[in-house]
């Protein structure tokens, strides 16, 4: 499973109140949530992400709230995968549970720049930057991989007929 796109880059400790502010949580339409994704840091984020992008970030990406809308909003905005130096535990699960691949790559923000074009292998964690530089991240295996391939946890459970 390979995903590719231009990079939008953020720093450390991007929290869930940045990813989707609480005042939008009463809405359930993913498209509406997407329009407000990352709004406190970059009101233009939705426009930039439309083309289909890979998000690169620093430490504990998605820290804070358990709001699943954080993963839903990013995915609906056009984010194909998130590469971060580390993830907050709940966001990492929420991303996978909504079919948004999350790849851990130490030094991600040093190795990859805004506007780079990256190809991500979700299974091996291999990341090719601008067609030349090859980086090795932590890909998804086992159940998390199966969940992502199914498009999310709900679809996975339906398929598994539990």
């Amino acid at each position: 499973m390979k995903l590719e796109g231009k990079v939008l880059k953020f720093g450390d400790k991007i929290d869930t109140d940045i990813i989707i502010p609480a005042r939008y949580l009463k809405y359930t339409d993913p498209e509406y949530l997407a329009q407000h994704a990352m709004e406190p840091l970059d009101p233009e984020f939705y426009k930039k992400a439309r083309q289909g992008v890979i998000l690169v970030a620093g430490k504990v990406f998605g820290m804070g709230s358990s709001r699943e809308q954080a993963a839903i909003a990013l995915k609906a905005a056009g984010v194909k995968a998130v590469i971060a130096e580390s993830f907050a535990r709940i966001f990492y699960r929420n991303a996978i549970n909504n079919g948004l691949p999350a790849i851990v790559l130490p030094n991600a923000t040093k190795e990859i720049n805004e506007g780079d074009y990256v190809v991500v292998d979700v299974e091996t964690g291999e990341i090719v930057v601008n067609g030349s530089k090859v980086l090795k991240g932590k890909g998804l295996t086992g159940m998390p991989l199966e969940i992502v391939k199914s498009g999310g946890l709900i679809e996975y459970l339906k398929k598994a007929k539990v």
Binding site: K13, D15, A22, L41, I90, N98
Partner: protein
Amino acid sequence: MKELRLPNFHDINYGILHQVLIEKYVNPGEVVVAADSHTTTSGAVGAFAQGLGASDVAAAVITGRTWVQVPQPFKVKLVGEPGKWINGKDVALKILGDFKADYFNGMALEVFVERPSAFPMDYRATVANMGIEMNADALMFVPDSETVSYIKAMRGYEPPVVTPDPDAKYADEYTIELNKLEPLLAAPHSVDNVKTVGELEGTPVDQVFIGSCTNGRISDFVMAAQILKGKKVKARCIAIPASYNLFEKLMDMGIVKVLADAGCIITYGTCGPCLGGHFGIAGPGETIVSTSSRNFKGRMGSNESKVYLAGPAVAAASALEGKIADPRRY
């Protein structure tokens, strides 16, 4: 709801999930999952408690199972006794200031209290609550005499006690001398941007919030009332107990009247303005001192507001003076 025949359905007039859980349900050694990040609060009574997203919780309800990545244990020791205006918030902020918000990712903190009664359940709940702010996978207080007497007082039975093996291995350990702590705050816009009250004293404040699942318990309001009694607040002050049970007790104790007479706005147990939902949303340019757990940009309302996190003593003193103030003068 009747159709679903839920045996333990709590409608409005109960309070915040995390407070209701420790009052009524959770025992030491249990595994708790719930669809809110501050589920870590149940670590106060020695449970392994994690917040999960809504889909994850739905899957756990349907299948009766979930999965966890086994965290590395890390030992924290609390020794001595805290000073008059110090409580759990200062301990949580001390840890966040010393280690920063990403350090404990993938670890579970086990907190050992040297003198159990010197660090009561309210204080423990605040520290466990902010385990998620430390990005810890879990934060558990090792059950002791305080845990047993709290559960016995709340529910009338002695809980089973589960404690770590004496030869348990820890990634590392860290000791806090409670008597050396001074009142701390987290300055905007990060929970680990920790400062002493002396560094921030005099900063003008528009609103003070005392409450939330972090610091909305009896001892928090008693501490605030000691400072506010017989005086009038200069900043807007909103006080919200974390559960209806606590609200009732505070009424019986006369604390609600003390706070109301001082000019505070008081309401029944809800999250209040903590997440910018209702009851005191921060406007552009406003500065808030809040006893809640997060001061991220835009957390309590406007992206152009600033939130300082503090314990109830700093919050009450700041409400009184209309600026960040040191409670040790009172």
